[in-house]
């Protein structure tokens, strides 16, 4: 009889200890889930805030400056289609391209720094690559830019590709 009572007592203690452990683990798990979801929510809120800032402060008011940049580049490069230019003439055109690039930085790209450093870097690199490509094409002896097909492929194509690339960067950041 004593043996049976002792075993019952033993099982009762084990049962209580198990309940305490389960309750404790449940509490820990609940706290973990609360902290995890709160952090995730905060991170999402921060991203939403950045996206909203990008849309309202920068894109709505300044996206026109990005498109102006590409229109200005087209105007700057246009004379190359009509006649052969000397290296000094090309230097002047490159000088204007650099002015256009600086304008873009001041009126658009720099503003992205307030939202996201990586976004700024990507847009800056993309616009730099365009100016570098156009500079190389205009000084490339083997390309005849007075030929419409060559001009379209090398100049218009590069400008169009750059514009698509930057819009893609902005769109992917927003989505």
């Amino acid at each position: 009889m004593d043996c049976i009572n002792f075993n019952n007592l033993d099982l009762d203690v084990i049962d209580k200890i198990s309940n305490i452990i389960i309750a404790f683990l449940t509490l820990i798990f609940t706290i973990y889930i609360f902290v995890f979801t709160t952090r995730k929510g905060n991170a999402q809120l921060a991203k939403d805030r950045k996206t909203d800032s990008l849309k309202t402060i920068i894109l709505e008011h300044n996206l026109k400056n990005l498109f102006s940049f590409y229109e200005n580049i087209l105007i700057t490069m246009a004379p190359l289609a009509s006649r052969k230019h000397s290296d000094f003439d090309k230097q002047e055109l490159n000088n204007q391209l650099q002015n256009d690039l600086k304008d873009l930085r001041l009126r658009f790209t720099d503003l992205l720094l307030a939202v996201d450093g990586n976004l700024y870097e990507n847009v800056k690199k993309c616009s730099d690559v365009l100016i570098d490509i156009l500079t190389e094409k205009m000084f490339e002896e083997n390309i005849n830019l007075q030929n419409k097909s060559d001009y379209d492929n090398n100049i218009i194509g590069s400008i169009s590709q750059s514009k698509t690339e930057i819009i893609k960067i902005l769109y992917e950041y927003n989505s």
């Binding site: 290296d87 000094f88 090309k90 230097q91 490159n94 000088n95 650099q98 690039l101 600086k102 930085r105 720099d110 720094l113 307030a114 450093g117 700024y120 870097e121 800056k124 690199k125 730099d128 690559v129 100016i131 570098d132 500079t135 190389e136 000084f139």
Partner: protein, 109 residues
């Protein structure tokens, strides 16, 4: 090792321009400019003749470490530019320095 960098030494034969980030990185590494900056108080930077364009992207990558370290004034105090030709390198150089410091300032905030 001399306190002088001749851009001509890094020019592709017959090239009239220096453009691109990759080229800037390559010249930075090949010229060991960061090491020269540590060893000398004054460094001469020679811009060659028969040059028609240096884009800011090239200068930005070439000078990114020294400008970040020295700041604008320190950079221009230490690096003395000598122009052997007629190309006006000052405008793209100033733009590159501004960009480097603009980014650094924004990231420091």
């Amino acid at each position: 090792m001399r306190n002088q960098i001749r851009l001509e030494d890094y020019r592709t034969p017959k090239a009239k321009i220096f453009t691109g980030r990759d080229r800037g990185i390559q010249v930075r590494e090949d010229s060991k400019i960061d090491k020269l900056e540590e060893e000398f108080s004054i460094i001469e930077f020679i811009i060659p003749t028969n040059l028609y364009s240096i884009n800011p992207s090239f200068f930005e990558e070439l000078f990114v470490n020294v400008v970040t370290k020295l700041g604008e004034r320190g950079f221009y105090d230490k690096f003395k530019f000598i122009n052997e030709g007629n190309y006006n390198y000052q405008k793209p150089l100033d733009e590159a320095v501004t960009r480097i410091l603009r980014k650094k300032t924004a990231l420091d905030i």
